[in-house]
């Protein structure tokens, strides 16, 4: 019998439609897989078996009754724990929200429920999405299915690892500086950061409001496109939600899957490559450029000189916005409340004691950095200057998109690194996001897909960037490259090279 967890979301949806399998079978298969491998991987913080199976049974009954269902109805999904889910614990990876049960659903979760997609559980992440490795989760790190001694990327390492380990065919991530794309790169999966405003931010626990964007995680480009079609669209509850209707991204992915990119201009960003990028990453990137040329694309070089200041601007804008957004964790209305050990119990002192006990080291680091950047006397030099850099980066993108329809780069400078390698060196950790951050600063969409393996045997991510509101180009170019890479590899995707995880049923040692 087919292992239902190995199917793509599109394949599974087709089998559900034809009646070959039921959603209860598919959902149970994924819950079983989670039970078998998630001990060591730790992609999930909370499992939602009962409600997921109830949703699946409901979809099966409605399908049996002949109801016209959504294309992805019955396909299970994992949701990053920064997205609020009504009546299901949501922590954002923080002790300050330990056990918090939101009274409402995020808009994108409402859309998942409306489409009839069972929610398997909530995935692990760096606390409040601050990090590139999940080492900053208050609940322990997620491990990379390719090598359990290595990071799965971050902040959305749980969502990427869940998809890579066949614990879910699809997952929701959020991307503030690369938190969907960098985990996708280091786990050999696909991840998309849509145009800012393409997916509603209502119900996302905000990190940096002018940068945050939710998006799909999957094993194929088409699957991400299908999920983007579900969660996208205007939301009156998000004032930054784009009002205009979006085209079908699945159609764009299917058009791209023919492998023909005749006439498409692909711009290689000179500043996102070269020094600091692992040789194996560069080699994989170059090989993908050859595939794009073979597909008929015209590959040109473009320059974005202001990108050299992007990382610095990002690490001022993000902490500044985060320090403001996280002020709501005050111990008064929800979440943790800690009273000071001594002295008067005033609201101010309770707030400080609560935040001292409830926030982890990286969150404290960034809130205090943001407080500094916004404080009197420094505002113009830091936050004000960073916002000007943002303008320069937007101008660089505008000029580059005059010369090219899409821009490309490696998604991350290195493959997955080992736990502990960078956790004590904040600047080294921050450099992981050097190629993904410019898109967030400019609000443009970006996609990462696996381009192969580096010389260390670990997966490499290939990033495609498009102008704002032109997300369909990501799917077309991404699917075309995916088709060419699959053909070159004899039909096997990058994940086929990942080692099989030990499962609880075939080892007693894992039961420790």
């Amino acid at each position: 019998m087919t292992d239902l967890t190995r199917l793509t979301a599109a394949d599974l949806a087709e089998r559900l439609r034809s009646g070959e399998v039921t959603s209860v079978e598919a959902t149970q298969a994924h819950l079983d897989r989670i039970a078998a491998v998630d001990g060591p991987v730790h992609a999930f913080l909370h499992i939602n078996s009962e409600e997921a199976l109830a949703t699946a049974a409901d979809v099966d009954a409605r399908r049996a009754a002949g109801e016209d269902l959504h294309e992805l109805a019955g396909v299970p999904i994992a949701v990053k724990d920064v997205v609020v889910t009504k009546d299901q614990v949501t922590t954002a990876g923080s002790k300050i929200l330990d056990g918090w049960i939101p009274p409402y659903d995020a808009t994108l979760v409402e859309k998942l429920r409306a489409a009839g997609m069972p929610i398997l559980g909530k995935t692990n992440m760096d606390e409040f999405a601050m990090g590139s490795s999940t080492e900053h989760s208050a609940y322990g790190p997620t491990r990379n299915p390719w090598d359990l001694d290595r990071i799965p990327g971050g902040s959305g390492g749980g969502s990427a690892a869940a998809v890579a380990a066949y614990e879910a065919p699809l997952a929701i991530g959020t991307d503030t500086g690369g938190s969907i794309r960098q985990p996708a790169a280091v786990t050999g999966t696909v991840g998309v950061k849509p145009t800012y405003g393409s997916v509603s931010r209502y119900g996302l626990i905000a990190l940096a409001s002018s940068l945050d964007q939710a998006g799909p995680c999957s094993r194929t480009v088409l699957d991400s496109a299908l999920l983007h079609d579900v969660i996208g669209g205007h939301d009156p509850r998000d004032s930054t939600s784009l009002p205009e209707p979006a085209p079908s991204y699945a159609d764009a992915a299917r058009a791209g899957a023919t492998g023909d990119l005749t006439g498409v201009r692909v711009g290689v960003v000179r500043e996102l490559g070269g020094e600091g990028y692992q040789p194996g990453v560069r080699a994989s990137f170059e090989a993908s450029l050859d595939h794009l040329r073979a597909a008929g694309a015209e590959v040109v070089e473009v320059s974005c000189p202001s990108f050299s200041a992007a990382l610095a601007a990002y690490y001022l804008i993000l902490p500044s916005e985060a320090s403001s957004n996280l002020a709501k964790f005050d111990g008064m209305r929800f979440g943790l409340r800690v009273e000071p050990a001594e002295g008067p119990v005033t609201a101010e002192r309770v707030m400080a004691a609560t935040r001292g006990a409830g926030f982890g080291p990286e969150v404290k680091r960034r809130i205090i950095l943001g407080t500094y950047a916004l404080s009197a006397g420094y505002y113009d030099a830091y936050y004000g200057s960073a916002q000007k850099v943002r303008t320069l980066i937007q101008r660089d993108f505008a000029a580059a998109f005059e010369a090219a329809d899409v821009l490309v780069s490696p998604t991350a400078p290195t493959t997955a690194f080992r736990f502990g390698e960078k956790v004590d060196d904040p600047m080294a950790m921050y450099l992981n996001d050097v190629a993904t951050i410019p898109a967030n600063l400019a609000g443009i969409p970006g996609l990462s897909l696996p381009s192969g393996l580096s010389d260390d045997g670990l997966p490499v991510g290939f990033q495609v960037l498009a102008p704002a509101r032109a997300d369909e180009r990501l799917y077309r170019v991404g699917a075309a490259l995916e088709t060419r890479l699959l053909a070159a590899a004899g039909g096997a995707g990058v994940l086929a090279d990942a080692p099989e995880l030990e499962t609880l049923t075939d080892t007693t040692e894992a039961a420790r």
């Binding site: 005033t346 200057s385 320069l392 904040p426």
Partner: protein
């Protein structure tokens, strides 16, 4: 550019309402000093003629009609409060004795 020492971290932590241990304060002073030196370059990149961008996609704010919308049930909100009383959040005293 200024440097960030332990006293400055303690001042910022008080502004941000985060209790820090002395060890955390010392450690953050070291970390933040490195980070601030690294990001300080932003002030040298853009001249006075470059406008600031606060928001990636230019949109005009739209106000909805002033009609009663849906709100969440009170009991659902208070169920997650650290402490509630008489249909309200129960909070510690706001001002200290000396105030």
């Amino acid at each position: 550019m200024s440097t960030i020492n332990a006293d400055e971290v303690a001042r910022l932590a008080a502004l941000a309402r985060i209790d820090l241990t002395p060890e955390e304060t010392d450690r953050l002073a070291g970390d933040l000093d490195v980070i601030v030196q690294s990001v300080a370059t932003v002030s040298e990149v853009a001249g006075d003629d470059v406008p600031a961008t606060s928001h990636p996609i230019p949109l005009t704010n739209v106000l909805r009609d002033d009609v009663v919308g849906q709100t969440l049930p009170l009991e659902d909100i208070l169920a997650q409060a650290p402490q509630a009383e008489d249909g309200q959040f129960a909070v510690p005293q706001i001002l200290g004795e000396e105030q």
